[in-house]
């Protein structure tokens, strides 16, 4: 395995940050904070670069009259105007306004569409997944009806007990199992990156 300078730097910095996390010696902790500060700066610079590329790409597509160019032009101009406004000395005051009148309504609209997509995809689920899908669908319907009963009247005999058991035992056990296995997956991935077996920064 060839070790380049960038890989050596990545491994060294990664090891310092990892060890400082577990062994909080003052020197290690100050190095960790320094490295993480640099990482945050680099991440911000990367975001700015990608933003510039995105805007230029949309303008380029508009000039070449690619399909949907009016939308591209609108998106690029909105991005530029937003960037300029928020960069002005008093621009921060506009942020809540932009959030309230543009970003939240747009996101809420798309979230509404997700609800529609989820409903009809769920109805097709038994056909798409066969016998196991039908079983899953029926179980899901049963749990939904149980929750509706619980929400309607929590004092119905047995309903609260069953719902609480499903929510606190079955669901939590499932999620914990998933999280446990994923944490091992993340640990393995992190160690591969730390050991230089994966080098996305130089294209292994």
């Amino acid at each position: 395995m060839k070790l380049s300078l960038s890989t050596a730097v990545a491994i060294g910095v990664g090891l310092v940050v990892l060890v400082a996390w577990f062994v909080p010696l003052p020197l290690l902790v100050s190095l960790r904070v320094l490295f993480l500060d640099w990482a945050v700066l680099l991440a911000a610079a990367a975001l700015l670069l990608v933003f510039l590329y995105l805007v230029l790409d949309q303008f380029r597509a508009t000039l070449r009259r690619r399909p949907g160019w009016p939308y591209r032009l609108l998106a690029a101009m909105t991005a530029v105007v937003t960037f300029v406004v928020l960069s002005l000395p008093q621009g921060e005051a506009a942020a809540p306004w932009l959030l309230r009148f543009f970003i939240v309504p747009a996101s809420a609209t798309l979230l509404g569409l997700v609800a529609v997509v989820l409903t009809y995809r769920m109805l097709w689920f038994p056909w798409r997944r066969g016998g196991r899908g039908t079983l899953f669908f029926l179980t899901l319907m049963g749990v939904t009806v149980l929750y509706l009963l619980y929400a309607w009247n929590p004092r119905l005999p047995g309903v609260a007990l069953l719902w609480t058991w499903i929510e606190q035992v079955v669901t939590r056990a499932g999620v914990r199992g998933l999280l446990l296995s994923m944490s091992l997956g993340i640990l393995a991935l992190g160690l591969r990156l730390l050991g230089g077996a994966e080098r996305p920064y130089e294209g292994s």
Partner: protein, 243 residues
């Protein structure tokens, strides 16, 4: 301090096991050790159709950050992109790909640059787009550019509720995220999805490198160890009189 040292020992033991297993599987063909996962079969199958018949295939990495759980999913997506890109550059139709986060996007660009360089090819344009920088903007962008020219879309990375809409971007959609809520959503709406740690197995299935396969083996062993510890803890407490 005791807990921190214990956690460091756990990580060190995991790393040591990874290293030993790597050298054990390095000289063998590890593909037989892997069970079939329909998600990866479909991913590779679509890529073959893209190369043979010019199928429109799109591979999305999402808009996640590159640290924390999101970062792990982003790196898994990058590994999948590299595996697919390496196969696709043997043909003339590489899959279109997209990402929206800052560092993730730069790394994806870098991957394509290195892939083309290692294939000794010069692209007219990299098969890569930035549909948007935030989750909903990214989703709207993907839906716009994938409309009508994409037969299959694959999404591996960090996704939230917007993944529900992304499944509308192609007739056949494979999607995977590290978020348990999104995994539940995708199980219902996507044609194929990955559950639990399968998200991080993309390297083993698409790249088939010894380090990826060693990771899967060590994960399985440590999962059994954790399971035994979980079973032993209440027994010890019971036999020790509680506490």
């Amino acid at each position: 301090m005791f807990r921190e040292i214990l956690a460091l020992l756990w990580v060190a033991a995991f790393g040591f096991a990874l290293l030993v297993t790597y050298f054990l599987v390095a000289d063998r063909s590890p593909r037989e050790a892997l069970r079939r996962i329909p998600f990866f079969d479909a991913l590779v199958g679509a890529l073959a159709l893209a190369m043979e018949a010019g199928w429109g295939v799109h591979q999305g990495l999402g808009t996640g950050r590159l640290w924390g759980d999101e970062g792990a999913a982003g790196f898994a997506g990058l590994t999948a992109l590299e595996g697919m890109g390496r196969m696709a550059l043997r043909g003339d139709h590489p899959p279109q790909s997209s990402a929206g986060g800052g560092l993730l996007t730069l790394l994806a660009f870098n991957r394509w640059r290195m892939l083309y360089r290692s294939a000794a090819r010069v692209p007219d344009v990299f098969p890569f787009q930035i549909p948007g920088m935030l989750p909903w903007g990214y989703t709207a962008g993907v839906l716009a550019f994938a409309e009508g020219n994409t037969e299959q879309a694959g999404f591996i990375g960090h996704y939230g509720a917007e993944a529900g809409l992304l499944t509308e971007s192609a007739p056949r959609v494979l999607a995977a995220s590290e978020d348990p809520s999104t995994q539940a959503l995708l199980y219902a709406v996507a044609d194929h999805t990955l559950v639990g740690e399968e998200v991080f197995a993309s390297g083993a299935y698409l790249e088939n490198g010894p380090s990826h396969v060693a990771s899967l083996i060590v994960q399985d062993v440590f999962r059994i160890l954790v399971l035994l510890a979980l079973l032993a803890a209440p027994l010890v407490a019971l036999l020790g009189g509680g506490g």
